[in-house]
Symmetry: C2
Amino acid sequence: MSERAEAAGHRPAPAHTHPDDVSLLAALSALADPVRLQLVRDLASHPDWTLSCSNFDVPVGRAAKSHHFAVLRDVGLVEQRDQGTKRLNRLRREEFDARFPGLLDLTLRADDTH
Amino acid sequence: MSERAEAAGHRPAPAHTHPDDVSLLAALSALADPVRLQLVRDLASHPDWTLSCSNFDVPVGRAAKSHHFAVLRDVGLVEQRDQGTKRLNRLRREEFDARFPGLLDLTLRADDTH
């Protein structure tokens, strides 16, 4: 089995939630975490589909990182697709902005020096 | 000892934090709670200093309610002052808006029907 087929066989395609189906409480809870804030900021500073999960340098293990991405998917902040052995990412900026105007802008502001 | 003096004697004046000294992460964490969201919304729908802590009908005990108010004070969302046996409240709308533009408006939007 090739590496690509093996990866495809072992990992189910990620499930997604549209921001329209997300509560404000869930959205705030997803963003109220330092690792997830960093993931979102990293995503915002790169073009869509250019970062795979392994490209994010956050101080947590692999399983925890997967969990954080799942939380971001579940509130409609991140879209993922598998390409070979890589899971590529896109920030769902437009859809999330439409549902929660201003929240992502606030999150991405660089003034959070406290 | 009168009831008023007794209350004053037993309860230290509440400590406050200005929103300018609050991180985005702390602000999001404070709002990412259903009871605190309700407290903030109730405060926003009443004039300043008209609600005492006992006026808020939330499904938690007295100690938990005090904790939630302390969290809201610590992120600069609520100002409190004691008047006799009552602890009166004010939403720090203007100061919080200046620090986190749009976050309170988003919180107070009535569209969160999920």
